[in-house]
């Protein structure tokens, strides 16, 4: 009797929790999409905001987000991959490896507002970049370095040792082995890390508030890098909190949600390929 009561209580708690989580996610997604999607218009997507005509457009914010993702990835990938290569291919000293991994873990736990603050002090003020997309991107580079390093490292570990030995046996040097054998066989890991970083950059806001700023001007890539610019998340924040333009905010939220969904699916696909190869 007591046993069956125990079982029943725990079973109920489990089903209730799962049901609540499922309802929560479904309700959240449908709510945001239901209110946001009808507010997305071609005019919103293709124009820039103007105080004179009262027009609101998010094209500059979309472009800034794209610029931010591209710049961050271009900088972080070589460093992250090289760090992973060092850890798996070169490092012999266990203490150095531990220190690097501990530092990476610490970095991935640091709150984004702290990144924003340090980014502002270091890139914007100390290096004189002012509030600009470039300063924002470089701040995000620090944030995403652990992700790229970790994911690439996992994938490097799956490259069979025999590949390396084969190449060494043919007389190749270390650098040649890495370049021609090791790196090509961990491309899927690097792709996964790119997708994960994309997701983080897309969703980041607190770290960009004081580094990239919140201007909505329409610029080409190189001009934008040296000017302040809001990404989609920052634009959402300002339209909702400062200007009370909730329709625009919901439209941006719907766009962000759909992009997050796509990125998740892509990361899952890439992750599955990685796991299959490991077997």
């Amino acid at each position: 009797m007591k046993r069956s009561a125990y079982t029943k209580v725990l079973k109920t708690a489990m089903f209730a929790s799962v049901a609540l989580v499922a309802v929560l996610v479904v309700a959240f997604v449908f709510y945001v999409l239901a209110i946001g999607v009808p507010n997305i218009s071609w005019n919103l997507l293709s124009t820039k905001p103007s105080y004179l005509s009262g027009n609101i457009g998010i094209l500059p914010d979309i472009l800034n987000t794209v610029y931010m993702i591209v710049t961050t990835l271009v900088v972080v990938l070589p460093f992250g991959v090289a760090a992973a290569v060092y850890l798996t291919e070169y490092a012999k000293n266990k203490r150095v490896v531990n220190a690097i991994e501990y530092a990476a873990e610490t970095l991935s736990g640091v709150p984004s507002i702290v990144y924003g603050l340090v980014g502002m002090l270091f890139f914007c003020q100390f290096l004189g970049m002012k509030t600009s997309l470039l300063a924002g991107s470089l701040t995000l580079v620090i944030m995403n370095l652990p992700t790229v390093m970790r994911t690439t490292q996992e994938s490097l570990k799956t490259v069979p040792q025999s590949y390396r030995e084969g190449a060494f046996g043919l007389g190749a040097g270390k650098w040649r082995v890495i370049r021609t054998v090791v790196l090509p066989s961990c491309v899927d890991g690097i792709v996964t890390s790119c997708i994960l970083s994309c997701g983080r950059i897309l969703g980041e806001s607190a770290a960009l508030l004081f580094t990239a700023g919140f201007a909505h001007s329409l610029n080409g890539y190189f001009k934008a890098l040296h000017n302040a610019g809001a990404t989609l998340t920052i634009a959402l924040y300002f339209y909702a909190k400062d200007q009370g333009e909730f329709e625009v905010a919901y439209a941006i939220a719907a766009i962000l949600l759909v992009l997050a969904l796509i990125i998740n699916l892509a990361a899952n696909l890439a992750g599955r390929r990685l796991r299959e190869r490991r077997k």
Binding site: A82, V96, A99, E105, G109, I263
Partner: protein, 283 residues
């Protein structure tokens, strides 16, 4: 080439040092000028008053209460969900649920903030008959949803890693599946589950934008005994974010000091996480 790779490897250490040095160097002067005890345990924050007062105890307590509240709601929900996903869910259900949890993790925090601002805050206002619903409670509800992915994902991994033989032995001894899951698998995965909770705590303490949008952002002391749950409050993270844009002088330095305190909290959380993982055999 060795040197180049080594340099890239050391980059993470360099960045940690960079962050630490910048926070310490820019955070210490204000603490020094205000006085450590007055800063940490002062109950009044009035940075722009004629006679400014810089006590951050309200922010510290808000962050602690907010995180504790979020965990109070998030842990049971996440824990039971994780046990179901790992031990009972059919493969298809498992995939759908894990996908849903991953999606929660991928949703930008401003989107949570927006929904919190326009659904939860008015909801609290109507349900409890308050003049304004932007409160500690609203922040707790939003945070409890945001910590779910950390709790569920890491717990599921830990529960999946429990050797099948443990459970088989328990079933063979006559325990049913529920008893096996909760009395054999859960204790065996306890370090992983504990780690998931600590990760959730880290996420909750560090969250800025979502709580800024729902917590009202007034530097009140959160007094739980006097209905502090429904008061407008300010977290450590939001204290930094909300005044940075227009701050100057000692006020600006004090904001850096708040960031330093926040950073120390996170380092503490990380150290706890690491010691749990080490004890649990590095799972």
């Amino acid at each position: 080439m060795h040197g180049v790779f080594l340099a890239c490897g050391l980059l993470t250490i360099g960045f940690v040092l960079l962050i630490t040095v910048y926070l310490v160097v820019s955070g210490i002067p204000a603490i020094h000028r205000i006085g450590f005890f007055k800063f940490m345990f002062g109950t009044k924050w009035a940075s722009t008053a004629a006679e400014p007062s810089f006590g951050i105890l309200p922010f510290i307590l808000t962050s602690i209460y907010g995180t504790a509240g979020a965990m109070l709601l998030g842990i049971p929900l996440g824990f039971f969900t994780a046990v179901y996903i790992s031990k009972f869910a059919p493969k298809a259900v498992r995939n759908v649920l894990m996908g849903a949890v991953e999606l929660l993790a991928g949703i930008p925090s401003v989107v949570y903030g927006l929904v919190g601002m326009l659904v939860i805050v008015p909801g609290i206002r109507t349900v409890f008959g308050l003049p304004d619903g932007a409160s500690l409670l609203a922040a707790i509800i939003v945070l409890s949803i945001m910590v779910l992915p950390s709790i569920v994902k890491v717990s599921v991994n830990a529960l999946d890693a429990v050797p099948r033989e443990y459970e088989d032995a328990s079933l063979a001894l006559g325990a049913n599946e529920v008893e096996t899951a909760f009395r054999v698998a859960v204790p065996a995965a306890r370090s992983g589950i504990a780690a998931s909770v600590v990760m959730g705590v880290g996420r909750a303490i560090g969250e800025a934008m979502a709580v800024m949008m729902v917590s009202g952002n007034v530097a009140n002391m959160p007094l739980l005994s006097k209905g502090g749950l429904f008061e407008s409050v300010r977290f450590l993270t939001t204290a930094v974010a909300s005044e940075m844009a227009y701050s100057a002088g000692l006020q600006r330095q004090a904001l850096f000091s708040i960031a330093l305190v926040l950073y120390l909290f996170i380092l503490l959380v990380n150290a706890i996480l690491n010691s749990i993982l080490k004890k649990g055999g590095g799972k």
